[in-house]
Amino acid sequence: MTTETEMSLYVLILAVPLGLQLVQRVSPLLHTPLMSLTNAISAISVVGAILVAGAQGATKLSQVLGCVAVVASTINIVSGFLITDRMLKMFRKKDK
């Protein structure tokens, strides 16, 4: 196993319990915004898409696949963040 892989596994081992902890603290009141926010965050796969689409000496195939992936993940990012904010704006505590 390479050091790279080992490091990545350590990151995973730490990130999963951190995620479980963080999410368990979110009030059920906000579960829908939580889901749309994490949904937007998971579209960070746009990073991989950019690397594939813009790489030096990329073949036509990986350019096309990469660009479609960039479009798809950007849709996911933009709609995810915007709808989350739109929902959260509506949550207010007391009467005006």
């Binding site: 995620g19 963080l22 790489a55 709609s79 509506m90």
Partner: protein
């Protein structure tokens, strides 16, 4: 130094993303959380564009522009009742992106060993989440029939298909040369996603969406391993954990196991358990009667279900709440975890109608208070208030946690008719002596109650 700037950007991106979920824990800081998430994403994208490997910008920027041009109107035009559909659609796009990146990477470097294993996991999860999310979107939007579609030997076919796909995956890890194997593997993953959702009923969609959320995160984390990109691993792991917890909560709220949701085909016509009681008499009441009782009450608990949202009664409900609060009546809302079409959906629908969130209460929190409530008003909810879940071992919903509406002094149920609900289970609550059935459309009935409230 300048070549390494992307690494700094990634570290800031990871911090922002962790902070964003942390801030989401309370409504007071939640919007700050969204802001942090956006900043994190910006760091990630800009950092990636600055990497030396990326040389071709033109098409990437055009693609980002196209994506934003499609994504923004989606988010602004969807009504709040359609948030579950939008989320499913978003999952589909995100998962497709992960799968395509996996495919491109496979053909670019034909990796081996560990990287290939990660790539196989990324691709299978990506493609199956893509089609499964499209199917879930179809069921929520009611383009695809919402009832479970089942046939003989279905589970056998699904499991055989999955085993075949996994076998192909293992083969590619051992022998990664490009051949017919990868396209077949892709096809099987896509097909499996469709078959996975077909037997699942509309009522189970909250669990399914949460599960797909988890898969999308896992695909993203797998991509992180394939590309040795730790930012992707962190973001993917957070997302996978979140989806997993939410689906566990949903399963608990329905007293069912994962396997039961995925293979149980709930929501089919239930035989036997239902029709026995339906000839019993019920007490019905008019809006005037209901208004008189409510005006004299001290504490009222409203139990909204998805039927309320379908009837678009939430704004009228807000008027009723205001009118009663002005008279000194305490009005609160009891929200079952599966009220609505995704976790927490009902809270969003009520918030949209301007109902303050400190009046919305979770099931465990408010259940002890029903005994002291003068009126429990049930609107568009059925199974989640059925006392049979507590004592009738023959009932299909036995063991499901419910809101203890039947303990209230007076129970009022707004309902179109005596037809049993979605799951086809009769509800003994309707036949109690303390229950008043208010027959009619939820929106117009609530508005009639508001009109009939005696002047102060």
């Amino acid at each position: 130094m300048i070549e390494q700037i992307w690494q700094v950007a990634y570290i800031f991106a990871a911090l922002s993303i962790i902070g964003s979920i942390k801030w989401l824990s309370s409504p007071a800081t939640a919007r700050q959380g969204v802001m942090a998430g956006q900043v994190g994403m910006l760091f990630a994208v800009v950092g990636t564009l600055l990497r030396a490997e990326v040389v071709d910008y033109q098409w990437i920027l055009i693609s980002i522009f196209i994506g934003a041009a499609i994504g923004a109107p989606l988010a602004y035009l969807m009504p709040m009742t359609a948030v579950p559909q939008l989320t499913a659609l978003s999952h589909a796009f995100g998962a497709l992106a992960a799968a395509l990146v996996g495919t491109a990477e496979y053909y670019r470097q034909t990796p081996t060993g560990f990287t290939m294993t990660a790539l196989v996991i990324e691709t299978v999860l990506g493609y199956l989440t893509f089609t499964a999310s499209i199917m879930a979107f179809g069921k929520l939007q009611e383009i695809v029939p919402t009832r479970p579609i089942t046939y003989k030997g279905q589970n056998f076919v699904n499991i055989a298909l999955l085993i075949f796909a996994v076998a192909l995956g293992v083969w590619m890890i051992v022998e990664p040369a490009p051949s017919w194997v990868f396209p077949t593997f892709t096809g099987l993953s896509l097909l499996f996603g469709v078959l996975l959702i077909i037997p699942i009923g509309g009522g189970d969609m909250p669990t399914v969406i949460a599960l797909l959320n988890s898969y999308a995160g896992a695909a993203c984390a797998a991509m992180g391993f394939a590309l040795s990109n730790r930012l992707l691993i962190i973001a993917g792991a957070l997302n996978a954990a979140s989806g997993f917890i939410l689906s566990v909560i949903m399963c608990k709220a329905m007293n069912r196991s994962f396997l039961n949701v995925l293979f149980g085909a709930f929501g089919q016509v239930q035989e036997g358990a239902s029709t026995a009681m339906s000839t019993k008499p019920v007490h019905s009441a008019t809006a005037e009667d209901a208004a008189a009782i409510m005006a004299g009450a001290r504490k009222i608990i409203v139990v909204p279900g998805y039927g309320m949202a379908v009837a678009q009664a939430q704004h009228k409900l807000r008027e009723l709440t205001d009118a009663l609060t002005k008279r000194g009546v305490e009005v609160r809302f009891a929200i079952h975890p599966v009220a609505g079409r995704m976790p927490g959906h009902m809270n969003v629908l009520l918030a949209e109608a301007d109902i303050p969130y400190d009046k919305m209460h979770e099931m465990e929190e408010i259940n002890p208070d029903f005994a002291e409530a003068d009126v429990a008003l049930v609107i568009g909810a059925n199974d989640v208030v059925n006392p049979a879940a507590r004592h009738d071992t023959a009932s299909p919903i036995f063991g499901m946690p419910i809101l203890d509406v039947d303990k209230a002094h007076t129970v009022m149920v707004i309902k179109r008719s005596m037809n049993p609900g979605f799951a086809g289970i009769d509800n003994e609550l309707y036949y109690m002596d303390r229950t008043l059935m208010l027959f009619g459309d939820a929106k117009s009935f609530v508005s009639d109650i508001v009109k009939e409230l005696p002047a102060t």
